[in-house]
C-alpha cells in the first residue's frame, strides 16, 4: 500500500503535487507570520508624520515615558486642546471620530501597537533615563502614519541591548541580565 503511494509520488504528476503542497503550506505559514507583524486597526487613522512635522515632541502626547512604566496614549481632551482651534477638524472626515468622541464624551479606544507579553514588566522611565531615545525602539515616527514596530519585541532583542549597554561594568551586567529585572 505504502509502496504504491511512493511509486505514485515519484512520477512527474506526483512530484508536482508534492511541490504544490509544500508551496501552499510554506506560503500559509509565511502569511500567518506576516499578519502578526501588521499594525492593528485604529479608531482614527492617526498620522504620526504630520504631527511630528509640526514639531510636536513624543513626550507631549506620551508623557508617561519619562516618569513611569507606561508611556500612555492620549485622551481626546489632549487632542482637542489643539484640534478645537483648527478649522479643518470640523470638516475633515478623517477627524470625524475625534469630534464624535469629544462631543459625546466617550473615550477613543486606541489600540496599543508596541506591546510586550503579560509576563514582561517593562518600564519606560529606566530606558529614557539610560539615554535611550524613543526612536531607538519605536523607529522613525516621522515616516509612518499609524505607529509600526520596526522590529519584533522579543527577548533576544532586549537582551542584546542590555548586554551591550552594560559593557565591562559587571554589576550593571548582573542587574541587566537578571531574570527578575523583567519577569515577575
Amino acid at each position: 500500500m505504502i509502496k504504491r503511494i511512493f511509486d505514485w509520488l515519484k512520477q512527474p504528476l506526483g512530484l508536482i503535487a508534492v511541490g504544490i503542497a509544500f508551496l501552499s503550506l510554506f506560503s500559509l505559514a509565511a502569511y500567518g507570520l506576516y499578519t502578526t507583524q501588521q499594525s492593528p486597526e485604529q479608531p482614527i487613522q492617526f498620522p504620526h508624520q504630520t504631527h511630528i512635522a509640526f514639531g510636536i515632541q513624543c513626550l507631549y502626547c506620551h508623557p508617561g515615558a519619562s516618569s513611569g512604566p507606561a508611556a500612555g496614549l492620549p485622551s481626546q481632551a489632549k487632542c482637542w486642546g489643539c484640534h478645537n482651534q483648527i478649522a479643518k477638524t470640523q470638516t475633515s472626515a478623517l477627524l470625524a471620530p475625534l469630534k464624535d468622541a469629544v462631543l459625546s464624551g466617550t473615550p477613543i479606544q486606541w489600540v496599543p501597537v508596541a506591546q510586550v507579553p503579560d509576563f514582561v514588566q517593562f518600564n519606560h522611565r529606566a530606558h529614557i533615563a539610560a539615554g535611550k531615545n524613543c526612536e531607538d525602539c519605536h523607529g522613525d515616527m516621522s515616516k509612518v502614519t499609524i505607529a509600526q514596530n520596526p522590529q519584533v519585541f522579543n527577548m533576544g532583542w532586549c537582551l542584546n541591548c542590555h548586554v551591550e549597554s552594560a559593557g565591562d561594568d559587571h554589576e550593571k551586567l548582573v542587574k541587566l541580565s537578571d531574570c527578575g529585572t523583567c519577569h515577575y
Binding site: F119, Q121, G180, Y184
Partner: protein, 245 residues
C-alpha cells in the same frame, strides 16, 4: 553538580548571605490572616474554590500555620506561624528545575520564578522543605468585575505554572526605580511587602539584611532568640522567626 557538601560548611547561620530579608514576630502575630488576604490582592493570587481546595490545591503565597500542644480537650494553642517562601540563599527548589524556571537572582538575591519558562513539572514544590510553592492546576475564572483588581505590576499566571512568594519584587523594583529617579539610594523602611504593610500587629518587618543598620537586621540580632526554620538543611533562609521573647 557536585554533592560533596559538608554539613559544617552549610551551617552558616551567623553569616548573612541574602540581600532582602524578613523578621516575623510570632509572639505578636494574632493569626488574623490579613497578610494572606493582602498578599493575594497584591500578587494576583487566584481563588481556587472549595472543590480544588479539597484536593489540597489551594493557592497562597503566605499561610498561617497553627500548632497546638496536648490532647483534646486539654489543648493549648501555641503561637501562629506565618509561613512564606524563605528566599533561601541555597535553595532546594532551584537545582531540580529542568527548565531553569526557578533561578537565583544575582542582583536581588531572591529566588525567582520565571513563569514563561515554567513547564509545570512541580519538582520544585516537591523539593521545597517549607512547602510554600503553589501550582496553577487550572485557569481559574474570575467573574467580572474581579479582573479590574488585578495588580498590573504582577503577571497573571496561567494554568500549568508554578508560583510562589517573590518578596514583592515589584515593590522592590518600584522603590529602586523611584530612588534612582531622585538620585539617591533606597532608604530602609521606605517600602515594605504587602503582608508587612497589612499586618495590624506589625509582626512582619521587611528590609535589607545585608545592612547591619536596617530595622530588620537589628531585630534579628537584638532579641537573641531568632529562629530560622529548617536551617539545619543548609538552605540559608532569609526569614527570621522571633518566639518566646
Amino acid at each position: 553538580m557536585t554533592t560533596d557538601y559538608k554539613i559544617s560548611e552549610m551551617k552558616m547561620s551567623e553569616e548573612q548571605t541574602g540581600k532582602w530579608g524578613m523578621v516575623i514576630d510570632q509572639d505578636i502575630c494574632t493569626g488574623c490572616q490579613a497578610c494572606v488576604a493582602a498578599c493575594a490582592m497584591e500578587n494576583n493570587v487566584t481563588f481556587v474554590g472549595e472543590v480544588d481546595s479539597g484536593y489540597g490545591r489551594s493557592m497562597h503565597w503566605i499561610r498561617i500555620e497553627r500548632f497546638w500542644e496536648g490532647e483534646y480537650p486539654e489543648v493549648k494553642m501555641t503561637s501562629n506561624q506565618p509561613m512564606l517562601c524563605q528566599q533561601c540563599g541555597h535553595a532546594t527548589c532551584e537545582p531540580v528545575c529542568p527548565a531553569f524556571a526557578t533561578v537565583h537572582s544575582q542582583a536581588e538575591q531572591l529566588n525567582l520564578q520565571v513563569y514563561n519558562r515554567c513547564v509545570g513539572t512541580r519538582y520544585c514544590a516537591n523539593n521545597c522543605p517549607y512547602q510554600v510553592r503553589a501550582f496553577n492546576w487550572r485557569d481559574y475564572q474570575r467573574p467580572e468585575p474581579l479582573p479590574n483588581q488585578f495588580n498590573p505590576d504582577v503577571t497573571v499566571r496561567r494554568k500549568g505554572v508554578m508560583e510562589k512568594c517573590t518578596f514583592c519584587i515589584q515593590r522592590i523594583h518600584k522603590a529602586q526605580d523611584k530612588a534612582k529617579s531622585e538620585g539617591r539610594e533606597v532608604v530602609d523602611g521606605e517600602f515594605t511587602t504587602a503582608c508587612a504593610q497589612a499586618c495590624p500587629a506589625n509582626a512582619i518587618t521587611f528590609g535589607r539584611v545585608d545592612d547591619p543598620k536596617s530595622l530588620v537586621s537589628q531585630m534579628a540580632r537584638a532579641h537573641g532568640h531568632g529562629v530560622k526554620h529548617l536551617e539545619e538543611l543548609g538552605t540559608l533562609p532569609n526569614v527570621t522567626y522571633l518566639k518566646g521573647g
